[in-house]
Amino acid sequence: MSRIGVFVCHCGENIGRTVDCAAVAQACGELPGVVHSIDYKYMCSDPGQALVKQAVAEHKLDGVVVAACSPHMHEKTFRKTVANAGINRFLCEMANVREHCSWIHEDREEATQKAIDLTRFIVEKIKHNVPLEPIKIPVTRRALVIGGGIAGIQAALDIADGGCEVVLVEKEPSIGGHMSQLSETFPTLDCSQCILTPRMVEVYQHPRIKLMAYAEVDKVEGYIGNFTVTVRQKARGVNASLCNGCGECQKVCPNKKIASEFDAGLGKRPAIYVPFPQAVPNIPVIDRANCALYKGRARNAKKDACKKCEEVCGRKAIDFDQQDTFLTEKVGAIVVATGYQLYNIKKEQDKEAISGYGEYGYGTIPDVIDGLQFERLASASGPTGGKILRPSDGKEPKTVVFLQCIGSRDPAKGIDYCSKICCMYIAKHTMLYHHKVHGGQAIVFFMDIRAGGKGYDEFTRRAIEENDALYVRGRVSKMYRDGDVIKVLGFDTLSGEPMHIDADMVVLATAMRPQPGIESLAQKLSVSYDRFGFINEAHPKLRPVETNTAGVYVAGACQAPRDIPDAVAMASATASKILGLFSASELEREPLVAQVDQGTCAGCFHCVRVCPYGAVEHFEVKDRKGNLIKTVAQVNKGVCQGCGTCQANCPSKSVELQGFTDQQIFAAINAF
């Protein structure tokens, strides 16, 4: 027979006003198995808790029911109290007689009866509670960071500086991400590369960071603390251990007319190339789609067309036969920091719901460029050496129209959200333009200016007030090429006047979107993503850098549009979360997880199909000689989050969710 104590709280007047607490205590005292039942003014107060502790000792209680407020309020409090009194904390439960009873009813008799009922359910439930101990999971103190942009770099450095090993995987030939393409950064106008490249080098030289550039995550298995990740190292065609980055190969490559990704298509690069001079690692990659040798081989040509790079390489580092390789890494935590891409206004989009801008010519009008292209034009390392020149004819544009919110905040084009950074970088662009093109006129069409952030509003004011940018509140309905100029037809909604501008160049602040392929990566990691492909955080406010899969974290613009300070802050936050996780060799988790009775499990694996976390595995039951008897389900306690969907779907009821076992629920219903 159980020895249960019932403690009914008045919560001052909150419960006592409508519920006859003494009557509840008395009624519960008459239940079989209840050996102690009292009511008290404030159970959560120190004297109240002392009453519980005292009763546990005095009456040798093996179950404590506190009839008071919502368990969301004080379950932790009272579980701690009973733990201090020496019994397992899971032998304490709460009956919610405040939020679910006294506060919502006026009839004292009805409310009292209901309070008795609710408490009785819990008394009967607790008779089936068992002591539970936290689950301990070993932790591999090594992290994987996916994405080598500023967020990935920051996360990797913070974790590595914290003393743990990091594997940094970047799909491009160099780390640096979009930040390396930027000219200057708002709101300080400091040179982007000047602050980024030292961090890149730091990553490269860090003893605890294993950098895998030109590589992609292929497969992820395991769970928090114990992931096994397979990384595909793409073939560079260059032996990285031999190459010294001298750059001779690039000079001799005959095909130098390839649009440079780094220069957003405005500059050219050879078929063997490093994306930019400060690339880390400074090892070239052969672009097989554009290299004459590989193109020839693809056509089964008898002779290799060109081997100039191989001939010139003094270190014999060129390896045309190099193949992709797969490496397995064991890590305990994963940071997703894959960043963003820019929306384009072309008619053909990669997603059904997104359409382009026909009114802006679907991207066919010359000298209509996007923000990143302007960054390259304005960058000293860019194709024009930092001069603002029109891509079409190299003329200096005297009138430049900047359009904000292209694709963003436009449900008709499929993207509802605000891309956050455009207001700021367009302001920056107008300043750079003002500095570089004297007498040039920048005209900005905006919907409204969102400059929340330290020094941000001041920055946009500066653009307007000191740099003569003309800000027009309104949208551009149409643009077309007319001879040498781009006719921009817009509307100034403040003056109510239509505007016809003859522009020399137009810059579109196109929306930020997650990187292509994010969905398949998210599926590999079993993290959820929204309809635009942004990774979902576990809680929008309280768990902003965690995902719904334990051990997988998110930083930067793959979660939502982020600027550099945001991305860095998130990255440091993930690092701190991960270092916290890595602070012990074992991880403690709440033991409210599912457990399979392997004796009765029939091995139908309905549980495997419904588990949102992939926490249920196949387990082979063998006899002493090692013969297979049957294959049954087994729950990985490290992965299970305790939803209990497996249990409801188990036909033979061979899986039990601890804390909500069938016995417990059955007892509560039976007490109805």
């Binding site: 939020e99 506060w103 009813h105 209990g644 629920i665 509560a668």
Partner: protein, 150 residues
């Protein structure tokens, strides 16, 4: 203990069991409480982690134990704390509702709802509507009187 319901329709006080998920509806009901939304006192909540954990057996057992009505409530689609428990529950309940109804259990005695943590008002509505509906139907004594055999 299980107070038997009176068979007299006028003095009939419906007894309703509610199976709700911890993250949305239970919290929504908490909110109804903190907002002091008055509602019918006939509903008794049993807390589960997720609608995914709610088995149609619970409903059967509640009726066996004297419930005149049952409420099952959890997170709205896409809001599940465990991502997909409510989607599985939705399929399960869709079948259960038809099967139970086919066996003669009036579907009006069972309410399925999505009530989020911010919908304290909706919870009060669900409670009041269900209570009124069951009040109208009268006690479900047929279920408990099944035991006697010829």
């Amino acid at each position: 203990m299980a107070a038997k319901t009176s068979t007299d329709k006028a003095s009939f006080k419906p007894r309703i069991a509610a199976f709700v998920c911890n993250w949305c509806t239970y919290t929504g009901a908490d909110l109804a409480g903190t907002s002091r939304l008055q509602m019918a006192p006939n509903v008794r909540i049993i807390r589960l982690p997720c609608t995914g954990r709610i088995d149609p057996l619970f409903i059967i057992k509640a009726f066996e134990r004297g419930a005149d009505g049952v409420i099952v409530s959890g997170c709205h689609p896409a809001d599940c704390h465990y991502t997909s428990g409510n989607y599985h529950a939705r399929r399960r309940f869709a079948v259960a509702r038809d099967v139970f109804g086919f066996m003669g259990i009036d579907p009006k005695r069972i309410t399925f709802s999505w009530v989020s943590a911010s919908e304290g008002g909706k919870w009060a509505e669900v409670v009041n509507d269900t209570t009124a509906r069951v009040q109208e139907l009268g006690p479900f004594s047929a279920y408990r009187e099944m035991e006697a055999r010829v």
